[in-house]
Point group: D2
Chain length 364, copies 4
């Protein structure tokens, strides 16, 4: 209820501060009998991990995850899965200056007023470091979803002013931007290098696609699949906007264009992004999101301290000039957690309705 | 859990189909001692009600709400508030043709596959008629919030291709579009008249603003205020995108521009839309959303039936050519429900932290 | 969260005061495709209804329930089911004397301090009248459970000092006490008549048994089936104790006696009452509860008013001299709601594990 | 939802198997600003720890708890508190014989059928070892409650046939039984020694009392304080019955005796056990529970294996002959978790109603 649990049937509860002893999570409600070990989680953790290119923060964390429970002889048992990552590269001394001063556009000011006390080291709980546990838990969800044939893949679709049209999935893990088009990588690197020289930061757009999602996931009227996806994505640090399918493009669309017509051979388009009336339609689910530019920059800015006095501030430390660059695995994880939770919810109420994708137009 | 309850501490559970006997809701967790009667709800219900201009569906419903419990001698008692609206204008005969055929871009296809059975009359539970109860419940939330000085107001910020820059709040309830600028009403009416002649439909953008929101609302890390607002708004029928503050505009923003600097006199800008780190900052909360064009149009389109056979279809009946036109009161209601729920959650955990807006820069 | 919702996947949310306009409930998460109409609910409502014998309150309510949504062409649709009972026999004038005085052993004192305001007419929300909606919702749960072969039956096992050993189910609905032994009815009636003459009241014990419950229901470690049954039963007005299986009899039992040994032909005993490690074992689930004597009696007693002044009080009105007499259908309803909720929860997580009772000792 | 989370606003989620790597918990929703360090938790953990006398299992665990997050500079920050206890004395070899055979009266049979797979080492998740995390989390709740003056204390009120009348709190932590009467310790020890020689086990009764609980805790109608206490206590391993106040004694009580009359000086009795209408009354809250005899005994018994074949079985290993002996700290912990959760819930809805115990009869 205090917000650190995600999901209803497949729940993930996390803890941990940027510079605390460890990050951890408990996954509750994982179906039993799924093969699982640490290597299933480590892959996505490595994709999210900082320091893998010059375009991200140089903080170095091994992000080595341990499974402490819920898996026996290589399979999930249905009991809660405890996960732990010890923090190793903490350098607390870097953060003493921000103890009493609120960094602009950070959570410092709001945490201070909400709780009356805050762990100021590295942003504490508000640090993006927290997302490591989302990625670890999302990897478990992906593994379970894979038994239904569901795949979830994301990519960067825009970096600052540079739009990145989708070319091929193969490229995504082949460059430091998760760009689905290796030909643009040179342009992206040049942009980032210039940005770093200007000591500024920029936003990005990430798109995530789920294929082979069963029809029927989503609970109208409030907990629609699209509503819960919006909750999941807007809950990622720095996200300021979420779109399903054509998103804001629908404002100037005509109904005769938007409606995805159906034929015995299948849908003729996917403007809806795979969700109709809040329920998955069996088409690919397409979600895009906008991430704001990193607030930690070294260009001086005005702020105040806990006493209300004015200050000019420079945020030092090791930061990502574009937080969007490492966001793709996080967005995939949140998509996976949302879909699996709804799959279990659907199954609970509607056991006799088959979980699977009916072939459109096939007589059953 | 089946999705018909909204909120955690101030919960709203609704029932009712478009052509069933009645719509109803139960509000649980309303603070006691709040003055409340039906007239507090009826105002917003009337704003949402169809048939008030030629630009909306001509279905006519009195939408007269009764409070059945939870209020005694004019005040809330802290016990659940039962609400009921009897359906009066049902005309079930209009809908017999769509019994076995899926209207494109409607929930027919997904409801059929999710539940194996559906109430096809007027869209059943998936009808926008369901939102009447959200508006009624939201009016209760607005009343409670008003005791904290919080105000919530929305407007149409774009109709199809026509952007509607904000001019003044006074105009919003003075025209059938909730447009904050009466000068544009002629252009909007002309556009709608042409659209109706073309028998097509179009999308819209709605913007909602909450003023005087206390600092500290929102529960990191998953149930952030912005995440829950996104859930609330994306859960409204036809919404395909949600933005907080600058929304998708942040992608091409620099960090030096986006960060809202602070001075002892206050914030210098509000790119964040009133939320920092998932927690309200005391600035106005600004949320925008995109609504898709109505799918019920009389231009023929391809579809299939429950047997998988192809059909050409025309959706008759009484429909809104732009569902966005009546969406403003609904979006306000969802904003109110979200904010009040978080206010109560905040109060539960942090009773000693004052609920109220600190004057930025004031020594406390 | 304010306590008027029961269950997680099959949820029941209720509203209504004793002397308000109506009682109502919303059932969310009911599986689709179940045949259902008002007559399925009315039977249990009639069993609970007061005034059916001289041993219960003479308040007369038709308790006629309407289904307002969620059922279409005689079957549940998976959408929320709205239920409504209008109050007809209210007689508010009877209650004006207790406006400012707290009746001993009632909720008057605690409601006053919790909410600062209360609907004093007939106890308002704290009246046993509220249980009518539990019985209506429980009847829906019973209907769904019957598709799994699960049956739920209760009886009075003790009335004041008179123990009522179980003889046969047929007798239970054949006398006004739900006693499973018609031979004892004369003794019970004589006891009640004397009690009424003494203007006093007395407690009772109710026992409920569920047969043919699938193995596997219950979620360790906190939401065990027995824990949730205890929650359900202790949540009934006037219940002060709950037992599973041998209950308090286990204190002086030896382990060699208590353990229910297993053979290829089945369990040799059922001291555990059908729950092992918080999970149903396939044996009959047996729950007993103790109900306190009615607090509304006409023997004068000391109390105070809202100003703290002392008073001598007599509680007039129409009351049950033994609230346990009408409690059997309520206890059955709460058992049904608990079991169905756990069945759906189990199905969500463990879809591949069959819901059904394995024959003990059968090789699968 | 899979049952490993307790509470709504102050939530505890746990993981860990008897012979896994570690036990852990996440506390979410702890109020900020509370002084807390490991020593606050270790005291109760040591009281629960096995091996402290010859009357409990000889398994030796240090049960040393680490706080991994949520506390900064000695105070809680309002963010989740991660707790971890590494398992040290595991001896997995002892358990290989029970891999395919179901121990009678254990969770082996039900876990097998629920999940299709189970960690058989030491009972896995169903081991009483799991309760260490409840005790750790309960100690945090006690600390928070102490800021309201609430105290929670428990004792053994019956061991097998030996009733232990309450004498004084000082004795409770002065003997290995948590008996509130040192004079009876000799008799209890003699009984246990004889029981051990007979290789049998026995049940017990535990009573917990909370003093100085504010009026107003508890959410009618389903989540009453007594209902949630019953859920909490019945969810403890081996508990088969729960009573509030006079409990099963009310069956044969007259209303004129049971009702706790009120005078300007206070209540004249406490038959209700501190709860009226599901809401705390300000009187001491008194809960008793019955724990069954340990099922792990060395007297041979009949059982079956996963193939359904019959076996005669002896449960070896290191077991408590009376699980009730170590249950007192666990019951206290569950009482603390329940009360604190309700205090926060009450505060959320009813902020203006003072949290504190009104002096009965005082004009306010």
């Amino acid at each position: 209820m205090a917000g650190n649990t995600f999901g209803r049937l497949f729940t993930v509860t996390t803890f941990g501060e940027s510079h605390g002893a460890a990050l951890g999570a408990i996954i509750d409600g994982c179906p039993p009998g799924i093969e699982l070990d640490e290597s299933d989680l480590q892959g996505d953790l490595d994709r999210r991990r900082p320091g893998s290119s010059r375009h991200t923060t140089q903080r170095r964390e091994a992000d080595e995850v341990r499974i402490l429970s819920g898996v026996f002889e290589g399979k999930t048992t249905g009991t809660p899965i405890g996960l732990l990552i010890e923090n190793t590269d903490q350098r607390s001394k870097d953060y003493s200056k921000i103890k009493d001063v609120f960094r602009p556009a950070h959570a410092d000011y709001t945490y201070h007023h909400k709780y009356g006390v805050r762990d100021y080291r590295g942003g504490g709980r508000s640090s993006a470091r927290e997302t490591a546990m989302r990625v670890a838990a999302g990897a478990v969800a992906k593994k379970v979803l894979s038994t239904y044939g569901v795949t979830i893949r994301g990519y960067m679709s825009q970096l600052g002013p540079i739009e990145i049209p989708f070319k091929r999935w193969e490229d995504v893990d082949d460059n430091p931007f998760f760009a689905p088009n290796n030909e643009l990588v040179g342009e992206l690197e040049a942009y980032m290098d210039e940005l770093r020289r200007a000591q500024d930061s920029v936003g990005a757009r990430i798109t995530v696609v789920a294929d082979n999602v069963p029809v029927g996931l989503g609970e109208p009227v409030f907990d629609r699949l699209d509503a819960d996806l919006a909750h999941a994505m807007m809950g990622i640090n720095a996200v300021k906007g979420v779109e399903i399918g054509d998103g804001f493009g629908v404002i100037d669309q005509k109904g005769s264009v938007h409606r995805d017509e159906m034929t015995p051979e299948g849908f003729l388009s996917n403007h809806a992004g795979g969700v109709l009336g809040g329920i998955s339609s069996g088409q690919p689910i397409v979600v895009s999101m906008a991430l704001k530019p990193t607030s930690s920059i070294t260009i001086p800015g005005q702020t105040i301290d806990v006493e209300g006095e004015g200050h000019e501030m420079v945020t030092k430390g090791r930061h990502d000039p574009c937080v969007g660059i490492r966001a793709t695995p996080i967005a995939e994880a949140m998509m996976a957690l949302t879909l699996l939770d709804h799959l279990l919810r659907h199954r609970g109420q509607n056991a006799d309705v088959q979980v699977g994708t009916p072939k459109l137009g096939m007589k059953e």
